[in-house]
Amino acid sequence: MSEAAPLIVLAGNPNAGKSALFNALTGARQKIANYPGVTVERKSGHFQMPDGRPAELVDLPGSYSLEPTSPDEAVTRSVIMGEQQGERKPDAIIIVLDAANLDNHLRFALEVIALGRPVVIALNMMDLAERDGLTLDPEKLEKALGVPVVPTVAVRRRGLDDLSAAIETRLSKKADQQDVVVSKERDHGLRKQAKKIANLTVVSETAGRRWSERADAFFLHPIAGPITLLAIMFVMFQAVFAWSEAPIGWIESASEWAAAAVEASLPEGFLRDFIIEGAIGGVGSVVVFLPQILILFLFILLLEASGYMTRAAFIMDRLMASVGLSGRSFIPLLSSFACAIPGIMATRSIADPKDRLTTILVAPLMTCAARLPVYAIIIGAFIPARDVGPGVGLQGLVLFGLYIFGIVGAMVVALVLRSTVAKGPNSGFLMEMPKYQMPRIRDILLGLWQRGWIFLRRAGTIIFAATVVLWLMLTYPKVPIDSPVSQVDYSAAGRIANVIEPVVAPIGFNRDIALALIPAMAAREVAVAALATTYAIDAPDEEAEAKSLTERLQSRWSLPTALAFLAWFVFAPQCISTIAVTKRETNGWKWPMFMLGYLFALAYVAAGITYWSAVALGL
């Protein structure tokens, strides 16, 4: 876009519907990056103003106040003030207010308006306010605030044209910037003023439907609440297996079809082997897990969009407090079930530095989606698919157990860290719990598309590259004909693995696992691709080559080895991206190195205990 495109920023309290408005204005083409030097997300997009000119729109992190209490709020403040490095001074500011929550949200609006910058108010979620029995008079609000007020319903795209028209008008005016002086007395005054204006704007208020409160009587019930949370998480992990069966079958057939097509059209030789064994075999074995990853993200996105996630934080707070964390850590940790990277980045909302450090250090113990392919293939091969109760499959139960194993591990580690390296006073827990909302299908799909695309891009880049390098290292040097040594043992990768094997042999790992662990440093799911590639190359004949990875694992691994491998991956530190993001978030190498060390030690011990226990039990 041209330089002349004006910069408009969206600001407002969390839960004011800012992101919905951002999505409605910009559509699906959004750019997500970080502000330089800090790890606060910068979400930007473009929209067209009534005169046809494009404008750049940036969605600022939700803030309760211009007086920052977290890195997120600090960025919002400095962007609005025009002091943020790497960001132009905004030409206009849209403040998004929840129409049903004016007395709380007006506080931030008044702070921003006091700066004298060009401001337009989007009085959002008007429909929900009406449903709550509120009748509002936007004109009165406009008069009291002295800035344009546009009623909007972002999710129904109502009021968007009026909003962009108001911005256009506002852009033509110049304004002078005022200074802010922060104090307890100022806070007090702001609140009173907000309350006064809110009372002025609300024309009438009837009881309305209080379904959100009624829902909380159940979801936040001291007994029913925790049980429901556990049940939701259980259903989530069962669904990951149960719902993915059919789509996984489609992807498998597609990759078989592709391999057959390549085989038919290319002459025998390096290129054909490379494409079938390296590219299709390696990458295909990872892409097959796309359905499961999407199902997991679907649940997380739904829980977030519905407002339930904060209830989960509320329920979990006391338990988290017992290991020195707070309910605030629950959301980053739950996101880490998808991927530790967004999880670690989400710790920015934790104000206490010791709390935050502990959460970062234990986040990799949450079972991320990249471990799912590893778990899924091993569970599929070694755990019988039978029901242990109505609607409860043994495979799902084992998967659930692995997640619980990771959670318990994280709690123990957090407790230890909080009384050693991250010692400090117990921090508080202060959080808004927004009203429940029906998740918007469009926003959920957009989120799924973004996550799915990131996964596929990883499969196409890091995982592809790692698989190709491994394939080459496994294929060369070629074993001489008549040699009694197998191709894998003779190859470069095999020789490296044979050196590592003695180190991992005491915990029940064989050479193939040693081989898979190295490229899995790039991304955990590469372990599966690596095993697939190894066994494809190692296949003595066509018939063996036709066997699935599952069948090969069953014939080569003992059950204790498989279980030890699962235990290893509960703690497995091998993910370079996680180490990198930890370095960035903690500003140095000290903590990522610490993380790497303690995770390796735990993984080794856990795998060892699992292996020897299983052997002793005669499994």
């Binding site: 307890k184 609140r191 202060l430």
Partner: protein, 88 residues
């Protein structure tokens, strides 16, 4: 007690579904940042609140308050620094 006009208690000891007004907050008992956050979420002297929910069975911590039209979670440790009066 002989039915007083108003009854002052700290927030953590307020009974459920009870409406009350914040009469005083012991700002000294918390950090500058915590105080600012409390105010940013609308908890300040003179504000009307209602105690709605409490945490997991056996702990009764944290608690959920209605502040204006917003629901806010606070830990007992903060709630004990907040004094409220129950309107007669």
């Amino acid at each position: 007690m002989n039915a007083p006009v108003t009854l002052a208690v700290t927030l953590d000891r307020l009974s459920m579904r009870q409406r009350a007004e914040i009469s005083a907050i012991d700002w000294e008992s918390m950090s500058e940042n915590e105080g600012a956050r409390l105010r940013a979420l609308g908890l300040d002297e003179g504000v009307e609140i209602e105690k709605l929910h409490k945490g997991m069975f056996g702990f009764n911590d944290p608690i959920a308050l209605k502040v204006g039209r917003m629901m806010i979670a606070v830990r007992k440790s903060h709630a004990s620094a907040i004094s409220v009066v129950i309107p007669a």
